[in-house]
Symmetry: C2
Subunit: 228 residues, 2 copies
């Protein structure tokens, strides 16, 4: 078990993909002895994808430090990486944390802190290569572990990632109990979850949709990398 008051800060922002955050939160909030703080740069209400609004987030500037810092991803991740106010708090909190963690494009935010230069990190398959702009080594693993840097791939990798973190903090048997309680025995109705397994026409359509938004996102990532 972790010591009392092991503090986990989940740093969320408008336009995040809420499942990147909510699946790990389900696990983190059940770790005995852990204090889980849902934080944002301005504090208060944060609107995520699909119109979900999370109320009562803590202002990042009001948190004096944490043991584990976590960034979920979202289409807005590269915007966040360019947001000086958010990134100043991210660097401050991350600088004192034992564990630096992220899921999906949250790894771009983590990379943009400069705190994981030269380390490996997982990321969403369509965005993964952007990590190299920040001197971070893109890792195609579902969950990547490089010392105290623990990161997950796209969106739903957050559950696999969070169970790895739970095992690290509270032991494997505890993590397995959580898995049983959450009945995490996945059975996807299709085998289309990775570019390597998706039907070619499905991959082509998803890639085409991505191409419409990617140039602007890549430009933001480059701007964030230049500033850092």
């Amino acid at each position: 078990m972790v010591e009392p008051k092991f503090r986990i800060v989940e740093a969320i922002y408008p336009g995040m993909t809420q499942l990147d955050f909510t699946a790990p939160h389900t696990v983190f909030s059940r770790i005995p002895g852990a204090e889980t703080i849902v934080a944002s740069e301005p504090g208060g209400e944060i609107v995520s994808d699909g119109g979900l609004t999370f109320a009562g987030t803590t202002r990042m500037a009001d948190i004096d430090g944490c043991d584990l810092l976590f960034f979920p991803g979202g289409f807005a991740a590269t915007e966040v990486a360019c947001d000086a106010a958010f990134m100043a708090q991210a660097k401050r909190l991350g600088g004192g944390a034992k564990y630096l963690t992220s899921v999906c494009t949250g790894s771009i935010i983590l990379a943009a802190t400069g705190l994981i230069k030269g380390r490996r990190a997982a990321c969403h398959w369509a965005w993964r290569d952007m990590l190299s702009l920040f001197g971070v080594i893109p890792d195609p693993s579902r969950v990547s572990r490089d010392g105290d840097v623990i990161t997950g791939g796209g969106v739903t990798a957050g559950m696999d990632f969070a169970l790895v973190v739970a095992a690290e903090l509270a032991g494997e048997a505890f993590a397995q109990g959580l898995q049983l309680g959450l009945e995490y025995a996945p059975a996807p109705p299709f085998n289309a979850g990775r570019p390597e397994t998706a039907p070619p026409e499905v991959l082509a359509r998803v890639r085409a949709n991505m191409e419409a938004i990617m140039p602007a996102r890549l430009a933001q990532a480059k701007a964030a990398a230049a500033a850092f």
Copy 2:
């Protein structure tokens, strides 16, 4: 593709397991032509497990009808099944819906509407047998389909369930594109997600924890069944 304004109502409540709701919401909110309404009996803010607060929910009484009604689960499900105000709205909305759906112990709420008597439904493994109190046939499947009644097992079954619903409403290729976008190629770090696969000592511990709360929950389910 579904017709414009196909309306999905997600009926949430205090004490729900937010992942039961947030994973399906991720999928439902991306279905083109679907309008997704996050609803609750009182409207406004709803606090779920792990202290997450969802703001701006719509009052169920203010919704004139829907095409698909969805109930997430949670430890509070049997309380909700005894809540006359919630259940009156659940029956009204469910009575006019084409699809009746739920995940985890949300199936107990759905069963308590009386609208799926004689039908099969999935539920969390530890709670599944309670369905028979309401004349519903417990189905151990990860995702259960009995006509227009589509239900999922415990918590994380919500993602598998939601992809089945997405395929029904928008076609298999569309659902596969969502799966790829969400990188849903699960790789649990342990194989402890079902009673049949969990290490015996893990199962024993989780069962012991459940036994502490189950008598009160079973009494609530019986009271709900008696009232119905």
